[in-house]
Structures are given as C-alpha cells and as structure tokens.
C-alpha cells in the first residue's frame, strides 16, 4: 500500500517536533528513515500509526485521505508499528499479547489460540514459544513476537523504530532478511535508524530527517555514507579522538563476583575484571545479560552472593554506598532521571547530591545556600553548561541531563567510574560531549568501566573490551583484537 504523509506539522508544549514534513513509501520496498535522535523520525511514524494527532497536514493511504481518531483506526487500516520500546505486556504470555486489541469471540481458548500462533510462527521463520511469558524472552525474541503480531493482523505497512538497537549483528542480519521477504510479498516496510551503515545495507530508499524536517530522499545505490552523514547532521561534528595513555596500576578489581538477579537466581556469575588507572574497559552485550546488575553491585546498590571488589587494593564488596563514594567510585546510572538526578529538584540541588554533607556545603548539618550556589556555578561553568539554576531539571533535554550528571560525577576526578549506557537516547552532539568528558577523565587517570549496548561507542572508546553473555564474561579482547563479527558471535553466546 502506498503511504504518503503530506506537510505534517506537530508541536508539543515545549517544542515543535515536525515543521511540515512530507514522506512517501511504496509497496515492495524497504524504506529507511535516517536521522539523529530528536530529528522527528519517531514522532512522524507515531502520527502515521495514529498514536499522535498531527496539528496540520494529512495522511494518504493507497491514494485515499485518512484521519485516525486513535491507533485502532490506523491498525484497522493496515498500519503496523514495532516501537523501540516494545508494545508487549511482560506478565502476559506471548499468545495473550498477540490477542490484545484483536476482535474475536468473547471467550478465549488458550490451547487453540496458542497452536495457531505456533504454526504461523513456523511459517514465517519467527520461532517463539506461544505460552512463554514475555518477561522471560530475550529482546530478539520479543521483537519476533512484535513482527508476528503485525503479520497476524495482516498489516500492509510495517514500521520499525530502531529495530537493531537491541540485537546482535547476526540477529540484525536475520531481521533484515525477514523484512526483505515481507516487502517482497507486497508489503511496505519502513524502518527508523541512525546508523548509516545498516541503512545503506538494508534499505532500497532512504529519507533523511533533521531538526523536524525531511531533508532528502535517495535510492541507497546512489547514496554514499559521507553524503548521508552530512545531510543527517547538517554540521561538522568532530568525533573525539581517543589517545590511550599508558595503562597505570590496577584501580578497580573485580574477582569472581556473583550477583543474584530479580527474576533469575544469578544475574552475574563469577565475573573477574581489572580496570587500570587511565584505562577504559568496555563491556559489550545484548541488554539483559547482567550488565545492569554488575553495575549496581559495583556501586553497592545490589547485594552480592559472593566474590570480591577492590578499589586501589581496598576491599569494597561489603562497603556501604557512601563508603564507596568516599573511596572515589563514581556511577553514571542507566536511568539519568530518577536515579542519577532528582527531576523535581533544581540543578544546584542536584549537583550536591553526593557532597551535601561536606563543608563548605553544610556545616554541623546546616546547609549554606551560598556555598551550594557557588558549587553549582563552578560545576556548570567548568563544563560550560547553560542550565537554568532554579527550574526543576526534569524540564531539561536528555543531553543536558547527562551533561549535568557528568559534571557532578566527574568533577572531582574520581578514582574509578562505572558508566552505564551513557549516551543512550542522546543526539550526536551530546553523545560526543559525553565521550569527550569520559576521555578527559581517562587522561586524568580515572579507571573507567563502560557498559554499553552500542558497539560503535565501545569500539571507539574502549582500550579493552569484555563481552558479557548470560551473566558471564565470555572473553576480554585487546584493541588489536576488536573484530565486529567475532564480538557479535560472543554477544550471542557463541564461542570465540
């Protein structure tokens, strides 16, 4: 089915997301929507899927003008979208999830419905157990459930938002093969991405978006990576250049650390790692293989089962969070808001989150507002952050939040920092700033453990790379051994 979005405009209270965007895609093609974070790609597709109402502009489908009053209308018209955050209800089973929002008889027949799902799954090579509960599935499996849903609903237009962000390189290849065959059967396939390489590889045509506008649409065989990058960014961004200093003494030592999980007995199993002064050790892995639990256990936020953690030779595994902070261990948590920063508080209040008990910020338990303001000015100045001092920080953009968090965590040159997905959801400029700040800390001798699902980021910054699968470190590679296919295999649990 032909899709044509005409002059779509959409404003949110704080910002205009789309300034009159037009976009078209045809049956039989795989069409990539390329752009930085915040370019408006997801908003545009959410409008196509009926999740948002456009302020202006119109949606044409197969030559007919359509207007969605709710996502249900869009679904009924044959639009199917796989969101970046999967639209699956974790406590429900796969087949229950597939029944949601589908019309049918009042009573549900568990066995019959499950058998139907299983046979359809086999037919399309999307293998998944229909009676498993979704929370038990890997991200790749969940994505297959999403695709099954679209096929079950006979969607003619398939939209996928950043589909490869949760997959290993091998899983990504399999996904693109599936998308290709779905397109060949006459469906229209659109996928959102910010990765030049995969767009060039997997798409027939590419539409580039920037700053809420569609900049260009090209056929992928006519496009070159450099041109796409220029269109996408619209300005010159210098990637920070890592210059690894000679590794120093061991700072952060992890010895056979085992950590219980929330939903499985052991989330981290016998992990052994050493991070030296001035070294960045990356941890690669598909989400949910124990990275979060490892980071939380190191920071003291999660009890451990066994093993040892040392900082500068001092045992820390039984230390309180406060002791670890005072020993010089910083954590950049996965959730910037709600863990790293308090959304309802001002930037100044957030900057003293870990030092509020130290003079001159407070003396004998009484805060000195002038010292707090002075600390804020100094920290904001040092990282040249233009942040309103008196507004709650939840109003800030993701990039600003992360810069603020780094300004606090890296201000006092910590001995070691554990950084968890520090650039997730940030635009290119903010991500580069984050990388620069991490490299600068490295040059001052900080030992950095960088956990990320973005392999490009790890390959750029890490001096050594540990691959994590099912709670274990399956290999630790030196820079010379960095090799994408091999890392991908390790991430998927294969032997190196």
């Amino acid at each position: 089915m032909d899709v044509y979005l005409q002059d779509i405009r959409k404003a949110f209270p704080e910002t205009v997301a789309l300034h009159g965007v037009s976009f078209e895609a045809r049956p039989g093609e795989v069409h990539a929507l390329l752009g930085e974070n915040g370019a408006g790609k997801t908003t545009l597709m959410n409008i196509l899927a009926g999740l948002y109402q456009p302020d202006e502009g119109s949606i044409w489908l197969g030559g007919q003008r359509r207007r969605w009053r709710s996502p249900a209308h869009a679904i009924a018209a044959g639009i199917g979208m796989v969101h970046q955050h999967f639209k699956l209800v974790p406590p429900l089973t796969v087949h229950e999830n597939l029944l949601l929002g589908v019309r049918g008889p009042l009573w549900l027949h568990r066995r019959r419905d499950a058998a139907r799902v299983a046979s359809l799954a086999r037919e399309h090579g999307l293998d998944v157990d229909p009676l498993a509960r979704v929370w038990q599935l890997s991200m790749g499996e969940r994505q297959r459930v999403e695709l099954l849903r679209l096929i079950l609903r006979d969607a003619r237009v398939l939209v996928l938002d950043e589909p490869t962000s949760v997959l290993t390189p091998q899983e990504s290849q399999a996904l693109f093969a599936t998308l290709r065959s779905l397109a060949r059967s006459g469906r229209t396939v659109v996928f959102i991405s910010h990765k030049l390489e995969e767009v060039l590889r997997a798409a027939d045509r590419i539409t580039v978006m920037r700053g809420g506008r569609a900049i260009a649409t090209l056929r992928s065989q006519d496009a070159r990576a450099a041109d796409l990058a220029a269109l996408m960014v619209g300005r010159h961004v210098t990637p920070p250049q890592p210059s690894p200093p000679p590794p120093g003494a061991p700072v952060l030592e992890v010895d056979r650390l085992t950590v219980p999980g929330d939903r499985r007995p052991l989330a981290v199993r016998e992990v052994t790692l050493t991070v030296h002064a001035g070294e960045i050790v990356g941890v690669a892995g598909v989400a949910g293989n124990g990275q979060r639990e490892l980071a939380e256990a190191l920071a003291g936020l999660r009890p451990i089962a066994s093993g040892a953690v040392r900082l500068d030779g001092r045992p820390l595994e039984r230390a309180t969070v406060r002791d670890r902070i005072e020993a010089g261990l910083a954590l950049i948590p996965e959730d910037r808001l709600d863990v790293g920063l308090v959304g309802e508080m001002t930037a100044a209040d957030n900057l003293i989150l870990k030092s509020y008990r130290q003079p001159p910020l407070s003396r004998r338990g009484v805060l000195d507002p002038r010292a707090v303001r002075a600390r804020a000015r100094a920290a904001l100045g040092r990282f040249s952050l233009a942040v309103p001092a008196e507004a709650p920080v939840r109003l800030l953009s993701g990039g600003m939040l992360q810069r603020l968090l780094l300004a606090r965590e890296l201000a006092e040159a910590p001995r070691a920092v554990v950084a968890m997905s520090p650039t997730r959801g940030l635009d290119v400029g903010a991500a580069a700033d984050v990388h620069r700040a991490l490299l600068e800390a490295q040059s001052r001798g900080t030992a950095t453990l960088l956990l990320s699902e973005d392999l490009d980021e790890l390959l750029l910054l890490a001096d050594r790379l540990a691959v994590m699968y099912d709670g274990r470190i399956s290999a630790i590679l030196k820079r010379a051994e960095f090799d994408r296919p091999r890392i991908g295999l390790l991430m998927a649990g294969g032997a190196a």
Partner: protein, 363 residues
Amino acid sequence: MIRIERRAPMSREAAAGLRLAGVAGALLAGAAFLSATGHDPGQAYLDMLRGAVGSPYAAQQTAVKAIPLALTGLGVALAFHAGLWNIGAEGQLAMGAFLASWAALGLSWPAWALLPAMGLLGLVGGGLWALLPAVPRALWGTNEIITTLLLNYVALLWVDYLVFGPWADPSAFSFPYSRPFPDAARLPLLPGTQVHAGALFVVAIAAALGFVLRRTAWGYEIRVTGHSPRAAAYAGMPVRANVLLVMVLSGAVAGLAGMGEVSGVIGRIQQGISPGYGYSAIIIAWLARLSPWGTVGVAVLFAALINGGFALQTSGVPAAIASMLQALVLFSVLVGDFFVSHRVAVRRGRAAALPAQEAAAEP
C-alpha cells in the same frame, strides 16, 4: 472537535487564582447539594460563617479547632516530603492523648513538671504508634497507607476500652470519659484569649519544619528521598533509617496534638477524641502543597468549615456537610490543578470540510 491538550504551565499567580476558583467551585457544588436536599444554601452558608467567625468567641473557638488540624497536618506534610503516606494521624493523636492522660491522671506533680512530661508522653505515644507501620514499610515495603489506617481503629478501640473500663469516671455512670484532669495538667490559655498554649506548638513546629526541610542536610535527604527513593539510595543516603525517623516524628507531632486536646481543650480523655482530624490532615497538607505555613493557613480554613458545620446543626442541617465540603474543596482544586497544565481546545478541524467517506476510518 473538542479535545484536551497539554499547555505550557501557567504563571504561579494564575495557578493560585485557579486554586481559589476551585474553592469557590466547591462552595457552589455544596450549595447545589444543600438546595437539592431542601435547605436554603444562602442561609446555611451565612450560619456557617457566623458559627465560624461571627463573634470574637466563635473566631477563637475556630483557632482552638485549628490547633489539632494544623499539628496533624504538619506531621502528615513531613511524611509526604519523604514520600510516605501517614494516614494514621488519627490513631497517633489518640495514643498521644492516651499517654499524656496517663500522666495527668496518675501523677500529682506541679504544673511546671507535669505539663512538659505530658507533652513528652504525647510525642512518645504518637511516635511509637507510627513506628509500628514504619518498620514493615522500611524493611519490606509494606504499604503504609493501609497499615497506618488499620492501626487507627485499634487505637480508637483502645481509648474506648480505657474510658468505658479502667479509666471510666466513677461519678459519671457509663458516660465514655475519664475523670477530669487536675488543674496542674491543664495547658494555660494564651494571655487575654481563650486559645490554649497548644497554639505555640503549632508556631514552633511550623517554623522548625520549614527550617529543617529547606536549610539542613537531613532535610535535603528527606526531600531527595521523597522525590526519588532510588536517587537517595544511589547517593548513599540512609533511606530505611530516614523512613523510620520521619514516620516517628510525623506520629509524634500528631501525638502532641492529642496531648493538646486532652490538656488544653477537654480536660479529660474521652471517646471520639479525634473526630477525623487525621483524615482532614491529609487534605490540608495536600492543599497547602506541603508548605508548613500553608498547612497552618489551610488548617484555619478547615477549622472554620468544621465549626461552621456544627453551628448549622441548630437549623437542622447535618454537620456532616463540613466533611463533604472539605472533600469537595480538594476535588475542585484537583480539577483546577489539571487546568494549570492542560486546556480544553475546541477546534474546527479540517475534518469538517472533508467528504464523509474520506474522513471516516472506521475499524
């Protein structure tokens, strides 16, 4: 097409205006209810106003009524700041009153020793009663709304037991109250007024709460914990210990209110020592946006509503109208709050100009 959409939040002044409009809306809704049930709303409101502030005596009685409301409200507000729901002020007040009465009835000390002892026991009684639900909340995350609430019933039954049983006034056969306190156990009146010295507790605690929350490192911890317990844990704050401490302090303030009631107002302990102060306290703290002095202000307003409600009884309108009005004020302020950040947009969408079959996309 009519739809509700978000808007940039309005100015602080406009928001405050909206909140006042909310109070007016509640009074209008109350008036509609009164006239629907066969009462004259104009007359009723006039009677209420007279009953609340119509004479120096009435105004001072309203101030007296505001004391327990303000104290329980301050306690609840402190708990709210730490993200805790203390719905147990009712029971904490009763237990504070119980321990204070125990001293008043059992010790024949002079006033300068007895009154501080009673105050202290009031704090202890309320604080310990709040500790009971605080421990499971800190250790296992047990929902404190339900546990604090259930304990209210237990505390009130305990007071019932005392005043019908071992503490019953032998000279007042089967009336549910104790014998009167000795004079040494009575809080003095503020000079030249009929308001007891418990008013000073309100001033002291409101001032202390404001200072502690805004200006101390511990107050900072409490605010962080209230906004985001995960951030507090991440920053190495003693979250569990603070949960215990805040609940105990919150209960202690409510217990002090109980001491004020038995010592300053009633002069004995009796059944129904708290006619719902603990529940009003939630609404008061919420309406005051947890601000200490705001809590005191709203408490005075609610005291006027309650005393006005009592005055209505003589003209045949049940005093329960006061509880309804309290609830209606909160409801309409909640509606007002929504429109601080949202608006109703009526637009003539382009759909109107389109042929019907194009606009329709029925499933």
